[in-house]
């Protein structure tokens, strides 16, 4: 090429990076210089070459490439694969828990346990909030356990009113003393104390259980 000073300007012209005035000057030169015109057209040919996709593009198995990418994504995000399964399992568990809690006796048991826990708690009582702080909580959602207002133990729930306490019968007590003096004490002549070892008093003063020692040393 005879005009090396135009090389760079031709390259910029081809690239569209020359200002209008400079571009006009180069185009004028190209009209008069065959060698530079040839250089410019070859440069345009190079551009066409660069814009063509490489022929290897038609050889590559892009479906396999996409599968490889998908595989890598699933390896990088194993949670995403299990997420639907976990969501399903969680839903089933939640439904089962709601159904179980909905059974009336379960609800009663839980409420009873909770009330016992509250009544036997030994820590300091919870500090109550002042009224102006409570007003902000009025709209807050609260978890409510639906159940009977007052829980009574099952054994005493339907019990009839207690019967009047019987009075102790003095004759029965005297009869017991006579029996012991006549029948039991003579069987233990060496004993300095009463042979009655265990006396169990019931709620009825006229019913007394007495365990008497045998002569062999045991109780009957």
């Amino acid at each position: 090429m005879n005009c090396p000073e135009y090389e760079e300007r031709i390259a910029l012209l081809v690239d569209g990076e020359l200002e209008r005035g400079a571009a006009w000057a180069v185009e004028k030169h190209l009209r008069t210089c065959g060698e530079c015109a040839e250089f410019a057209s070859q440069m345009e040919f190079d551009r066409e070459l660069l814009r063509m996709p490489p022929p290897e593009c038609s050889d590559v198995d892009f479906i396999a490439l996409r599968h490889a990418i998908r595989r890598r994504i699933s390896q990088e995000h194993p949670r995403a694969k299990w997420m639907p399964v976990l969501a399903m399992a969680g839903s089933i568990l939640l439904i089962m828990a709601v159904a179980w809690l909905g059974r009336p006796n379960v609800a009663r048991t839980l409420v009873s346990a909770a009330s016992r826990l509250v009544s036997t708690r030994s820590g300091p009582p919870a500090k109550s909030l002042p009224a102006h702080q409570l007003s902000g909580l009025a709209a807050a959602p609260v978890l409510t356990v639906v159940g009977p207002r007052r829980i009574t133990p099952r054994r005493t729930a339907n019990r009839p009113a207690a019967a009047p306490q019987p009075r102790p019968d003095p004759d029965l007590e005297a009869a017991l003393r006579d029996f012991l003096a006549k029948e039991i004490t003579p069987a233990f002549p060496d004993s300095a104390v009463s042979p009655v070892a265990i006396r169990i008093q019931t709620s009825n003063p006229n019913v007394v259980l007495i365990l008497l020692p045998e002569s062999s040393g045991g109780f009957e």
Partner: protein, 191 residues
């Protein structure tokens, strides 16, 4: 579908769906760009295997950083910038492992298909082009390819390569001249 979604281009809609975790939409974006990304990577690395790896890595990076892509713009410039960076890393690792790609070996052989009429088979023409690109410094090659293959503006290329617009303009101009001189030399040798 709301008014905004209707105004969006099909590509922007795919990107929005892919951002919300739709893997099928992501795959459609991959299908839209895979050939162009592969072509760019092939000319940047000079090796089919390296280019395939670069394609995978580019789209994996796209999947990881989907949220960073501006839905209002085309995905292309973002993808090509990532491809150029990945190919740069591939080149550095190859330098460390001292591997020589086949195309470099081919560049030093006389071109049997070159003739004065300039009639060349597509593959021979491509082989000659890649041999010419191999002679260019990496930045110049990347700037020229982003401009010509992907039609990116000077500013887009500058952003992709982390350079200034002035530097990119100069790099592209120099790359064109070097490539033209390489071809002229090869044609002279074959005559």
């Amino acid at each position: 579908m709301d008014e905004r979604a209707e105004r969006e281009s099909p590509e922007a809609q795919l990107l929005s769906r892919a951002k919300s975790g739709d893997l099928d939409a992501f795959e459609q974006l991959v299908a839209l760009y895979e050939r162009r990304v592969f072509g760019l990577a092939l000319r940047l690395t000079g090796s089919v295997e390296d280019a395939k790896d670069a394609v995978q890595e580019t789209f994996m990076r796209m999947h990881r950083k989907m949220a960073q892509i501006d839905s209002g713009r085309s995905v292309g410039p973002w993808l090509y910038a990532v491809t150029a960076n990945i190919c740069h890393d591939v080149g550095r690792s190859r330098q460390r492992s001292r591997l020589v790609p086949m195309d470099e070996w081919a560049a030093n052989r006389p071109d049997p298909a070159a003739n004065p009429e300039g009639v060349m088979h597509g593959r021979e023409r491509e082989r000659r082009l890649r041999a010419g690109l191999r002679q260019l410094p990496e930045k110049e090659r990347a700037a020229l390819l982003l401009r010509e293959m992907e039609g990116m503006s000077t500013e887009e290329v500058a952003r992709a390569l982390g350079s200034s617009a002035g530097t990119v303009r100069s790099q592209i101009c120099t790359a064109r001249l070097k490539l033209r001189k390489f071809f002229a030399r090869r044609e002279g040798e074959s005559k």
